[in-house]
């Protein structure tokens, strides 16, 4: 009885969800269209290129998948933290730490002639450890000194950035480039491509697996339950016998590990070297900020986050084509993205207020 009631309730929620986002999408498109017209562009041409450049060609689709991979992992990292009551603004730093871990492992094992099925996982593990460590610092500081993880993660972003700057310009620098970029990692540490001609690497599969893994971990394991309990009300969790400090020391490093994996995959699958700008260009919203948006819009739920990350991947990879199709200035593309986020939130909030 109750179970069937629950099923129909879930259906209702799903419909509600779909209606909200359909309405939000429509309004966002309308606002975006107004914006495009204001810049003297043709709306249909613009939207056509957004879709074509992100989904309509194999190359575009592959690049959207490549974008989806770090976005999803980074958003999972944020969602995981929020579920446990931690606000992780340090995704960028953790991505960099993961990229460093991957690159460092690849260089360290370079001479050993490892086959790729051994080398790639080892490299990714290096990245995961790098990110793990970058998450461990805020975790331990929060447990031992009650220092806000928001503060620490932001500070560590700056530190990680300079660390990459140091490595990419210093010990690992590729002298031919004349830029902040490392030598390429050995071929055997490069993640296999799933669409070699179109250029999609296998990272998105790993990211999807991580989403599924997180879903099961959160809902089907006692550790996941304890994390949710601590995130919901740490005091009550303590009264229920949960060791809050220990759980906290799982949460932040796990966030870091997920982001670190994102960074490692960016190196192993995409750039094949360490460079500044892995997590977004100067003066542009980077993965960290987008990951928080995605996590909240996806309600910190792995499924919701996966969908939201996919939509964002399309949006991000499609929208900068507006520069080329209708001559929007590069920065105006961010305005377009912001308008879409704000209209989605607008519709969602209006419905909730009324509902």
């Amino acid at each position: 009885m109750a179970a069937s009631a629950n099923v129909s309730e879930k259906k209702k929620i799903a419909i509600e969800f779909a209606v909200t986002y359909a309405a939000a999408g429509a309004l966002a498109l309308a606002c975006g269209a107004v914006f495009i017209v204001a810049f003297g562009g043709d709306v249909l041409v613009a939207l056509g290129t957004v879709l074509r450049s992100s989904l309509g060609t194999w190359g575009g689709f592959a690049q959207t998948l490549n974008k989806f991979c770090p976005l999803l992992l980074a958003s999972l990292a944020v969602a995981f933290g929020m579920r446990g009551g931690h606000f992780n603004i340090g995704v960028d730093g953790q991505i960099y730490a993961g990229a460093i871990g991957m690159t460092g492992t690849a260089f360290a094992l370079e001479g050993m002639n490892l086959p790729w099925p051994v080398f790639v996982p080892l490299g990714l593990l290096g990245g995961i450890l790098g990110g793990w460590f970058w998450g461990f610092i805020p975790g331990i500081l929060r447990v031992r000194f009650q220092v806000s993880e928001i503060f620490v993660t932001v500070m560590l972003n700056f530190v990680a950035l300079y660390l990459v700057d140091y490595l990419a310009n210093g010990p690992w620098n590729d002298p031919l480039a004349g830029e902040a970029i490392s030598l390429p990692i050995p071929d055997a540490s490069v993640l296999p491509q799933v669409m070699p001609r179109a250029g999609a690497h296998a990272g998105f599969i790993i990211a999807l697996a991580a989403a599924v893994g997180m879903y099961f971990f959160m809902t089907r394991t006692i550790a996941g339950y304890e994390i949710r309990a601590v995130g919901d009300n740490p005091r009550a969790a303590r009264f229920g016998g949960i060791n809050v400090a220990r759980v906290t020391l799982i949460i932040m490093p796990t966030c870091g590990a997920l982001s670190g994996l994102a960074g490692a995959l960016e190196v192993s699958g995409f750039h094949q070297s360490l460079l500044l700008g892995i997590s977004g260009a100067e003066g542009a919203p980077n993965y960290g900020a987008m990951a928080i948006l995605i996590a909240v819009i996806g309600r910190n739920n792995p499924l919701g986050v996966t969908i939201a990350a996919a939509v964002f991947a399309v949006l991000v990879s499609g929208s900068d084509s507006l520069q080329r199709s209708i001559g929007l200035p590069g920065a105006a593309v961010f305005v377009f993205q912001a308008i879409i986020v704000l209209t989605v939130v607008f519709v969602q909030a209006r419905r909730e207020i009324r509902g």
């Binding site: 109750a2 179970a3 809902t219 394991t221 949710r228 009300n233 009550a236 009264f239 949960i242 060791n243």
Partner: protein, 516 residues
């Protein structure tokens, strides 16, 4: 008080729904100048909702309100204050890191540009002295015990010049002595021409102090009767309808019923640090198996610290805690739970529930290391089934086991944490139950149900430590009563019959009345 007395406040045909829930259904209510008017009803009957409408916190869906015969539109607390309505809320609405004085002055600071708390101090002190409400004005409110916080709320309402004063269950946190004090204050208000509306679950208070009584059931008004026509039986029948009186539980038998063997709980010379709240000073007592030991004391005398020290939540500096003969002093909370201890926390919202998690997931908090067959796996079906059973067994008003716990009413949240600790006791062998004010805010029926469950645990041989500020409840339930004062056990009394006055004297710290 007669029907012809001038109606100070009238509410007509007031309706209010929250989503699907119809909280009030065309209710009329009317209170006169100079009276103390009691509102009575089960948990969730709509009392708070009605008064929240009057005080501007909720907007009614339909209905009319008149003050002094003139229709008013109350759209915000500001409007309510303007017509003289002041309310002391069920859950205190204070600002934790402001001082008591700042809380009282807030919104009526008496200056435009420069805040001068000192200039107003004397008028607040005078007001406090007039009504016998002694409050440490310069303490941060969050450091004050709940009872004192409630007094701050009352003083705040008075300071804001309310002449229609609404109190929503103000006595749940007060000692009998303070309750008497409060009612004498309220009576003097009424004499001075104020209107007092008073919500409570304690029928005796109603009979002792109020002029008229309005009873609600399921969002409808049943009737308003003058005190002279009311008896306990009549009021309960009005509240419960055809369901009749709650069953009279068996009375305690006294310490003779204690079972053989180690005491269930043995507390030996426990001391805690002042950094953790009220320091405990050499607290020592036993809770034998098969007994309910009541702990009497005015709130804020170390009960909370003791409960937490026993559960392993705060560090014990000296002394030992034994469960069934085993020293558990160095064990974690989880370790003590595994050895049969079950704690029912005092603050259901802050310490009790996981508001965003489902009701079912709330029931298993603490049990979760013990109930699953496969290591590390959270078996959702089992959790849901437990949830369904608990909702039925403990009579919890909730749509199903999937709703977030936050959506439950206060009373039902209380039932949820009672259910959890009882289930925990059953799961882990149930050696010791520490119940901190388990029936706070529950209606008569629900309270009697909780009492039944505690007695059942006793019958099964568990030791129950019942901490309560309600002396009536303690006398009704305990085989033995120990009294705590300023972190120290001042005396112990064996039941089943108790001398309330001697206990009361000890609760106030007067040692000469020490008992057996």
């Amino acid at each position: 008080m007669t029907e012809t007395a001038a109606a100070r406040v009238e509410m007509h045909d007031v309706s209010k729904s929250f989503g699907q829930v119809r909280a009030l259904d065309a209710v009329d209510f009317e209170a006169a100048k100079g009276e103390i008017h009691a509102l009575l009803g089960e948990n969730g009957a709509g009392k708070t909702t009605l008064m929240n409408i009057l005080s501007g916190l909720y907007r009614m869906d339909a209905g009319r309100i008149a003050v002094d015969g003139r229709e008013v539109d109350i759209g915000s607390p500001q409007d309510a204050i303007a017509v003289g309505v002041g309310m002391v809320h069920q859950h205190v609405e204070l600002i934790g890191n402001f001082t008591a004085l700042e809380n009282i002055l807030l919104g009526r600071e008496g200056a435009r540009w420069k805040l001068d708390v000192e200039a107003r101090r004397s008028s607040v002190e005078e007001l406090a002295a007039n009504y016998g409400l002694s409050i440490p004005l310069d303490e941060q409110v969050k450091t004050l015990p709940a009872g004192i916080q409630q007094k701050v709320e009352i003083l705040k309402a008075l300071y804001h010049g309310a002449d229609i004063l609404i109190l929503d269950e103000p006595t749940t946190m007060l000692t009998p002595h303070e309750v008497d004090g409060l009612f004498s204050i309220l009576k003097s208000f009424a004499k001075g021409g104020l209107t007092v509306v008073f919500i409570t679950h304690k029928i005796q208070e109603v009979l002792d102090n109020c002029d008229r009584i309005t009873v609600f059931r399921g969002g409808r008004k049943i009737d308003t009767i003058p005190r002279e026509e009311a008896t306990r039986e009549i009021l309960v029948r009005m509240m419960m309808g055809e369901r009749g009186m709650p069953p009279e539980g068996e009375r305690p038998t006294g310490p003779s019923a204690a079972r053989e063997g180690h005491p269930a709980l043995s507390v030996r010379g426990v001391r805690t640090s002042a950094k953790r709240g009220v320091p405990l000073r050499d607290v020592a007592f036993d809770v034998p198996r098969g007994l309910i030991v009541g702990m009497a004391g005015i709130s804020g005398n170390g009960q909370k610290e003791l409960a937490e020290a026993l559960a392993g939540l705060i560090e014990v500096e000296e002394g030992e805690v034994h469960i069934d003969g085993e020293d558990v002093s160095s064990l974690s909370v989880a370790g003590r739970i595994a050895r049969g201890m079950s704690l029912l926390p005092q603050d259901r919202i802050e310490e009790g529930i996981l508001p965003g998690l489902s009701l079912a997931e709330n029931f298993v908090l603490g049990l979760h290391p013990h109930i699953f067959r496969r290591r590390g796996i959270f078996e959702r079906e089992a959790v849901h089934e437990m949830g369904r059973n608990a909702i039925a067994e403990f009579n919890i008003l909730a749509r199903n086991e999937h709703v977030p716990a936050a959506h439950l009413s206060g009373g039902n949240i209380q039932k949820t944490i009672v259910a959890r600790s009882v289930m925990l006791a059953h799961t882990t062998g149930g050696k010791v139950m520490i119940a901190n004010n388990p029936t706070r805010g529950l209606d008569v029926m629900a309270a009697s149900f909780v009492h039944g469950r505690l007695r059942e645990l006793r019958a099964k041989g568990a030791g129950v430590l019942l901490i309560s500020e309600d002396l009536d409840e303690l006398c009704l339930m305990s085989d033995r009563i120990v009294v705590i004062y300023a972190g120290e056990i001042l005396g112990a009394f064996d039941g089943p019959k108790y001398d309330i006055y001697r206990i009361g004297a000890l609760m106030a710290g007067q040692k000469q009345g020490a008992g057996s």
